[in-house]
Assembly symmetry: C2
Homo-oligomer: 460 residues x 2
């Protein structure tokens, strides 16, 4: 069996916790693992890591790889050169498996940013869907509606099949009355975007219903880095798998998802899955409340004090604070759109890297300061800058510094100058975290002023 | 004529904008000047600076002096060694004038943290109160109530006097029905805590009604720094001027305050005086709103985004975020009490000093980093530290550094080490601001690890 994890996502729904460059699936929502990692682990309990393919946008590629590598080095990750909705991503992932294994294998396709806690019940559902998939069905996992949600698409089932139902049709997000009707009729399910089928069946349906995608697959090859060629991808239409295949194919079956499920599509849904205190509040971080009810107050860094408010969501992050009415938290997307040009929708102030993370502190005319943390046994690449000098002050731990042809050991409290154009590397070969302050100084300060020397030195 | 400005204040009402160490009167609420400075300027238009005495707690002494010195170097400031409510502060201030001028002079006593915009109307009220004060009355300035406020004390007037009224009695904060009755009766005024009288009359009333305070005045002397001796002050009862004198004396008259007046006693009252946009919002700083009404959103530093909320107050400062219901904003005091042990009620992250300001950035095991800004032509004292070394990196401007017996010029991008126990001073003799990062390193890092050498060197 194979799996495809769709690890794209815009980061708008849980802003300011999620960002364009660090969307929801990369966040730890419930426990230590991210949603992506939890999705991977859920599949990994019955599918080998090398058969679980994740596909994501090039801009999230290194973060996705970084997170998955912590679980397994053999998990493949494909990079899309640009965002094209789900159908092209799924088609390319199927093509990858076609080229690398058996077309008759069953593949399960799942989003990376939903919360499912009962993994055993999920696996049971997979088991129960297998025979339908073997019989040539595309088996979608329907979620039994618990209330008349108007924000999801619904799937209408017809007569029973072995362990499931034949699907009559996919329907768009309904209005409230329609949603109520669906629920009372009993044969409607939420569309959670999880489905299983033979690789060959899905590829056949692509050929039949979406030849514009299918035709481009012929030229698709994967290099070592599994990056999809831009010229192939740009020719594909941007279309969802529902529009491309599911709503058209007559091979769709449905099994009822037996586990819990939450798409975490808004702060409200995150509130829903969290444990509440006696006042109905979910409180995280440095928070003080007085007469606050049924609210979600989240502090990442600074003190948040709230008095006399009910049914609100208030989220503090390093560089943005968001407050909204709890049951209108889907409107956070509107704020996100209004802020589209602002850095706070794109980046966190703290940026994670394979070797650790950095936080931008002050910036001004001709300078920028960062706090940099290098994890034990990690190092930054050997590099130089044409337009800026750097000055490092070690706060915690010990830095091993390569500077031109020399090596230096810089202890806490000590500092070192990295002149313009000097070839240098910041490394932490020790067992404790290294924290430094970096002061960048120059007429042009940008992440793109960097020349890497990995090949020349062969040390990194 | 003389004036006494009561410049104490706990900083709880407008938290987190105000702090225990930087209360409301020191803040700029409306324009460039602080409330204290605006109060001083209002009086200074008809009273000479050397006759306007400000009295404040020792912990605010340097900030009060710093702000007033920017207007006039000759304005005297008395420091109370501890907080004792208004009566002891007023008594000591009267004693200061008794020792330094004519007891028959009229003195006007005003709080430092109220907002009055129409200075001309205020001065008119002062003029109209003079003949009553000359006749031996203690003339309180009554504020005509505009609505049945339950948070203020009221003053009931009796028969008319020249330009005012005889006061029948002072009454405590009423409940809503009583407040409504007061307003319909028409002869009740809000007690704004502003009053005028002859110095001799007030001192006589202290002798009569508050001998415990009066007796201690005999021993009161003022040194050059105008600090009240602890042993004298601690013997005085902690009591308000209203309880001590106003409610007991039969010499109280009232003139109607002709100017606008707002005590800025809560975020709600601050909202009241601010100009609103079409949605009834007051918005300050980096704020984005969507469907927000009748709210006060204040951002000091980071982005604040609000959606779908009405009638709230949301305040962001560097290290604390406060949200509350607008018409219950007096409850901020409760949050403040809950947080009493936290640094965020006491200090701002950015601390102002006569020479500039500093902001604490990171701190950890054995280190603390600050951004320090030294204003042009300013310098820090010559000092040394027994338990920490320092490392300075210049970000902007140029530093003139005294280090033991040498002097150094440190330019932007350069750095200098200040070893343990080294005698040093950071100075900016130039015309532009100096900004540095300071990394403190040591086993014990505290503001109290400082030895100052001003006298030895005679240079500062």
């Amino acid at each position: 069996m194979k799996a495809i994890i769709l690890a794209g996502g815009s980061g708008s729904r849980l802003w300011p916790l999620s960002r364009e460059m660090y969307p929801k699936q990369l966040l730890s929502i419930d426990g230590d693992t991210s949603l992506l990692q939890a999705t991977f682990n859920r599949l990994n309990s019955f599918i080998d890591a090398e058969n679980i393919l994740s596909i994501t946008n090039i801009k999230h590629f290194s973060d996705v790889k970084l997170q998955l590598n912590k679980i397994s080095k053999s998990a493949p990750v494909i990079a899309e050169p640009l965002g094209k909705n789900t159908a092209p991503a799924i088609a390319c992932s199927l093509e990858y498996f076609k080229q690398n294994s058996n077309e008759d294998d069953i593949v399960i396709i799942v989003p990376s940013d939903h919360l499912i806690k009962d993994n055993a019940a999920f696996e049971k559902t997979v088991e129960s869907a297998k025979s339908l998939a073997d019989d040539g069905y595309i088996v979608t996992f329907g979620i039994k509606p618990s209330y008349p949600e108007t924000g999801y698409g619904y799937i209408k089932t017809a007569n029973s099949l072995q362990g499931g139902y034949k699907v009559e049709k996919f329907v768009e997000k309904p209005d409230l009355d329609t949603a109520k009707k669906y629920i009372s009729e009993g044969n409607y399910y939420w569309n959670g975007g999880i489905f299983m089928a033979k690789i060959s069946v899905l590829l056949e349906e692509f050929r039949k219903y979406c030849p514009k995608i299918s035709a481009n697959l012929e030229h698709l090859t994967f290099d070592n880095h599994l990056k999809i060629d831009y010229s192939i991808y740009e020719n594909m239409p941007s279309i969802s798998i529902d529009y491309a295949i599911m709503e058209k194919s007559d091979k769709i079956a449905l099994v009822k998802l037996q586990s819990d499920w939450n798409d975490l599509g808004s702060w409200q849904s995150l509130y829903d899955v969290k444990e509440k205190d006696e006042q109905g509040n979910v409180i995280t971080g440095k928070v003080v409340v007085d007469n606050v009810k049924n609210s979600f107050i989240y502090s990442q860094k600074e003190l948040v004090a709230v008095s006399g408010l009910s049914d609100i969501i208030l989220v503090e992050t390093e560089d943005a604070i968001m407050a909204c009415k709890r049951d209108e938290s889907q409107n956070v997307k509107k704020l996100f759109e209004k802020l589209k040009e602002s850095d706070t929708t794109k980046l966190h102030k703290t940026v994670f890297r394979p070797w650790g993370y950095y936080t931008c502190m002050n910036s001004g005319e001709g300078y920028l300061t960062k706090t940099i943390c290098v994890l034990p046994k990690q190092k930054l690449s050997i590099q130089s800058h044409n337009y800026r000098s750097e000055h490092w002050v070690v706060l915690e731990g010990t830095a091993f510094v390569i500077l031109d042809d020399k090596e230096y050991i810089v202890k806490a409290g000590d500092s070192i100058d990295i002149p313009l154009k000097a070839i240098h590397s910041l490394q932490n070969p020790y067992d404790t975290e290294l924290k430094i302050i970096e002061v960048q100084k120059g007429d042009y300060i940008s992440e793109d002023d960097i020349i890497r020397y990995n090949d020349i030195y062969g040390r990194v």
